[in-house]
Amino acid sequence: MKSLREFLVAHAQNGVISFSVQAKAVREFRLPFPVVEETILKTNLLPSRYLRNQETLSQADQFSLFRSRVAVIGCGGLGGYIVEALARVGIGHITVIDPDVFDDHNLNRQLLSETGTLGLSKAEAAVGRVRRINPAVTVAPVKRVFTRENGGMLLKHARAAVDALDSIGLRLDLADVCMEMGIPLVHGSIGGWYGQVTTQFPGEDTLRKIYSGRSHDKGIEDRLGNLSFMACLVAGFQAAEVVKIILDQGKTLRGRMLSINLLDVEIVDVAL
């Protein structure tokens, strides 16, 4: 019997492995999807799902993304779209952290919420969604609140953390844990027609600068709510920051904050 590698090379077309061949390898060799994906990439082949990532992302880039772990804290409005983007771009390991279940009022914006998932865990919904769109991605669900105490364990081995939370106190706890652990943190938040994005690198206290001196745990979203397209837009910025951090490409929002006003179509880049 051929080895997995020989099987893949024999079935590759112009260096590309189709999803049906990958699924066949999973069945015939009785291996999990992530193992087959790793072998494909190590063999210098490309899963066909990533064809439209090229030439923006090279085969080597795909391998770097596949080998990376990213923690997404919050699986609501921002988190749902972030997990979607990270899984589709090919991040190999995603930790999703959210203690909540879906409620009716999440349906206006949260990608993972459906009428059929009301009352169900947001973290588990992320697992199911990723399994359906990219089974080569391993998702670890955590149905607990992120705290300073469990943060070190939850973020272990993370190449980057993504702040998709909805309270200032928890965001600051996350930022402090990331600073202690030397993990880059991509922050995003929304409220009404408005949003903001920035990235805190190890040794920086960016989120403390943004939220210092707050007596309230909520911002303008408490009154203005959150809209679907703002979640989608800000999540897109955050996912892009994650990819740039992992691949060390382009410029990040280090030391800068984008303030986005879609009502008047203004995006301001502020030095922090």
Partner: protein, 80 residues
């Protein structure tokens, strides 16, 4: 003296403007006016003010304005 004031995100509505007219961000202020006094004058609710920048640097709001100063003010945004 003239200063430039930018109110961002949900605070943009407190910049006085006539319907359909472009937003005028240049304000005439008196000697000794602080950033907070100017925001009070424009009826900006201070509990909606989070970040204040004066000429690109963090400010507390009690700074006295000078000719040509640029002020930027942001509300807290924390939804997800």
């Amino acid at each position: 003296m003239k200063i430039e004031l930018n109110l961002y995100a949900s605070l943009a509505r407190y910049i006085p403007r006539e319907a359909g007219a472009p937003c005028n961000r240049i304000f005439e202020v008196g000697e000794g006016t602080t950033i907070i006094a100017l925001l009070h004058h424009l009826q900006v609710p201070m509990d909606k003010v989070k970040l204040i920048f004066l000429n690109g640097l963090h400010a507390h709001g009690d700074e006295i304005l000078s000719e040509g100063d640029r002020v930027g003010v942001f509300p807290p945004v924390a939804g997800g």
